[in-house]
């Protein structure tokens, strides 16, 4: 794995739109290091709608988003482009 720092946000149990706001807040806080690729934000959620709203907002902001489904929740990984 790479030496990237990971910011974990656990919002299991919360529902949209709060989920989105929490994720955006985290992205805002780290936005400079996130753009440089020094940090990535990983959101864990069990709310299905968040797997649509979070990636679409993060992509509009110019990030790359990967969504992974595990047994009990979704993992949304937000990183710099390229």
């Amino acid at each position: 794995m790479n030496r990237k720092e990971t910011v974990d946000i656990n919002i299991l149990g919360q529902v949209c739109p709060a989920c989105l706001l929490v994720a955006l807040k985290e992205i805002n806080t780290h936005h400079e290091r996130l753009r440089k690729g020094e940090v990535e934000v990983v959101v864990r959620t069990d709310h299905r709608d968040a797997t649509r709203t979070i990636p679409s907002s993060a992509e509009a902001m110019g990030y790359r988003v990967f969504v992974k489904r595990t047994e009990n929740y979704y993992e949304i990984r937000i990183t710099a482009r390229q």
Binding site: P17, K25, T53, G62
Partner: protein, 427 residues
């Protein structure tokens, strides 16, 4: 100090609460509006009570997100602009002509090269005009037009060879499709294949000449000896004192015609001579033209044809003086014969890159397109039997090609033909 009375305090308090509620309501509404823009549902009051709402600062969060969205858009725009400039530069720098044409055959865009190749007026705005008008000088799309086929079938089409403005082009059309896969236009790529075609033609001609040359050299050699005997014996016979007037005349014709045969054979032998037998010499082109003109002056006078010369200062070229003179005599004589009577031949020399050009322009009938590619073939002639053997130009092109030059023929825009002999300047 006056103590406020509890009743009025209560009223004021109620009033403030109502106001406060309205402010919060306003904030919730605006937050929801922003959330909708972000593509999500409104916040429910039970999810977030009024106090946490303010503390959470959703408007601040969305504003921060918007800032990043804008930043990203600006960056994307910059990248798109750069990509567009790059694409435009490639579009214009490429060596092939590119046009984008819509389904009504209107030109949407074309690159610089396309303009240079097909548009006569460089500053002309051709956008929105019909491609068949601008490129093909027609008032409707041609039957063999590849763009018609591509628009109809949605497939790419290649037209191997099409002639425009004295040049040969290869045309490739590929469909331009919309989101639903329907053909909404064509991209037309035009490649100039004139040089390639010329090289191929020259190659073919050279091959033909080499084989013909070998054959004729053999025949010519075989014929020379018997012809020599005919000439010798007819001359011997002419010395006989007992011949009648008629017999003397007939013998004279035999001798004359035999000499003519010898000349043709000499021509064949010249033609068949291999390159390594002649060392490449140096030649003064203007000088060669003057001698050719001098030699044919009488013939021109007889035909009432004026020969004009416009000889410019040109460098010495590679090639033997007598051979190049021979070439000019052939071309000039052809011009006189083509004009027949009354006319003009204009001869001009000039520099062109590393070449010296000798140009012969006559006021004859020109050369029909249908035979233009054959006039350099050995024995091709349109002249009556006895007048032309059809060797003049094939011998000439043999001589010129051997020393790295070319002979080009075009019909003059006004009248007659133009022959251009290009010779290599001697370094």
């Amino acid at each position: 100090m006056k103590v406020p009375d509890p009743i009025s305090l209560q009223t004021e308090n109620r009033h403030l609460k109502v106001l406060n509620k309205r402010y919060i309501q306003y904030i919730r509404e605006k937050v929801n509006q922003l959330l909708e823009v972000m593509g999500t549902q409104p916040l429910k009051p039970e999810e977030l009570d009024d106090e946490t709402l303010l503390e959470f600062d959703p408007i601040g969060i969305v504003a921060g997100a918007f800032q990043q969205i804008l930043e990203h858009l600006r960056q994307t725009n910059r990248e798109l602009e750069l990509a567009r400039d790059e694409l435009q530069a490639i579009f214009n720098a490429t060596g092939v002509g590119i046009s984008i044409i819509d389904s009504d055959f209107r030109i949407i865009r074309c690159n610089e090269k396309q303009r240079q190749m097909l548009v006569s007026e460089p500053s002309e705005d051709i956008r929105g005009r019909f491609c068949y008008e601008v490129y093909c000088y027609k008032d409707s799309p041609g039957l063999d037009c590849p763009a018609v086929e591509t628009l109809a079938t949605g497939r790419a089409v290649t037209l191997r060879e099409v002639k425009k403005k004295d040049k040969y082009f290869q045309v490739v059309t590929t469909p331009l499709k919309d989101h639903e896969g329907r053909t909404k236009g064509v991209i037309e790529v035009l490649i100039d294949v004139t040089e390639k075609k010329k090289a191929e033609e020259l190659m073919l001609r050279t091959e033909k000449m080499v084989s013909l040359g070998q054959m004729s050299a053999g025949i010519a050699h075989e014929l020379n000896t018997p012809l020599g005997s005919i000439l010798g014996y007819s001359r011997l016979l002419l010395k006989d004192k007992n011949l009648t007037e008629k017999q003397i005349e007939w013998l004279g014709i035999i001798a004359e015609q035999t000499k003519r045969c010898s000349r043709i054979i000499k021509g064949l032998l010249d033609f068949a001579r291999l390159p390594e037998e002649t060392p490449v010499g140096r030649c003064d082109v203007n000088c060669a033209i003057n001698s050719a003109v001098e030699l044919l002056k009488k013939e021109a006078l007889k035909r009432k044809i004026r020969i004009e010369t416009e000889l410019n200062n040109v460098p010495i070229v590679r090639g033997s003086q007598s051979e190049i003179e021979q070439v000019f005599i052939n071309i000039l004589l052809n011009a006189l014969q083509a004009i027949g009577k009354d006319g003009r031949v204009h001869i001009r020399t000039y520099n062109e890159d590393q070449m010296v050009v000798a140009e012969f322009k006559d006021t004859g009938p020109g050369i029909p397109e249908s035979i233009r590619h054959r006039i350099f073939d050995p024995f091709f002639t349109t002249k009556p039997v006895g007048e032309g053997t059809g060797l003049g130009l094939s011998i000439s092109s043999g001589i010129v090609n051997r020393i790295g030059g070319t002979i080009e023929v075009v019909n003059s825009p006004e009248e007659g033909s133009i022959f251009r002999v290009r010779l290599v300047a001697d370094a």
